[in-house]
Subunit: 126 residues, 2 copies
């Protein structure tokens, strides 16, 4: 797994019903909200349509209500938008991230302070 420097915290929460919500599902929901399409949302994450759909299906199965709705009569691969449940899942995950980031900030400071400053300097000049 690669570390995204813009997102130092990677947080995944396992819920009941054998479902976990992490950055992948959250980004996918956000992409669908922004593009109106499962295929386009997957594409901008470098994810196959099949993979994107399987993540959506896992959420649709686990939650009482589906997380997205697709346009009737539309292309099978287009016309998707978040349901109220999908919006809530996304907003709750984003809020959770911010809450966790604030809560762990002092500990992150401690860990950063233990890092080798020489190595840090070297990285910056590479």
């Amino acid at each position: 797994m690669t570390n995204n420097p813009d997102r130092p915290l990677h947080l995944r929460i396992a819920l009941e019903n054998d479902i976990a919500i992490g950055p992948g599902k959250a980004d996918l929901l956000e992409g669908i909200r922004d593009t109106g399409s499962i295929a386009a949302a997957g594409r901008q994450m470098g994810m196959s349509y099949k993979r994107a759909w399987s993540l959506i299906e896992a959420m649709n199965t686990a939650f009482s209500q589906p997380v997205i709705e697709t346009a009737r009569g539309g292309s099978a691969r287009g016309g998707a938008r978040l349901t109220p449940t999908g919006e809530t899942v996304l907003a709750t995950y984003r809020h959770m991230m911010r809450a966790a980031e604030s809560a762990i900030a002092p500990d992150v400071e401690i860990l950063q302070s233990l890092l080798d400053p020489d190595q840090r300097k070297r990285e910056n000049f590479d």
Copy 2:
């Protein structure tokens, strides 16, 4: 990645120096503290000695001080203990987990409340 039901939160933090601390490195440090051996700590996690050593080496490189010290003249695969830096990294990660768990508890409640209760029941009776 599997979900450990006893540990619903999976938290990994990327620091500078291209190092990330997550449950794997934390558990490994704890195992070394408890067993006094890299090999034994790796074994109880189902991790090869090579893999365990590479995680330790990544930490030893990134931090100013090594995270473990090995006994002089002892077996190459035995006699390891945490340094003060190793103890601090472990304790800070554990504290970070508890702080994040508390901070996200209300959001976890919201997500749990959206789950399909029928499916939850089914899982429980399987």
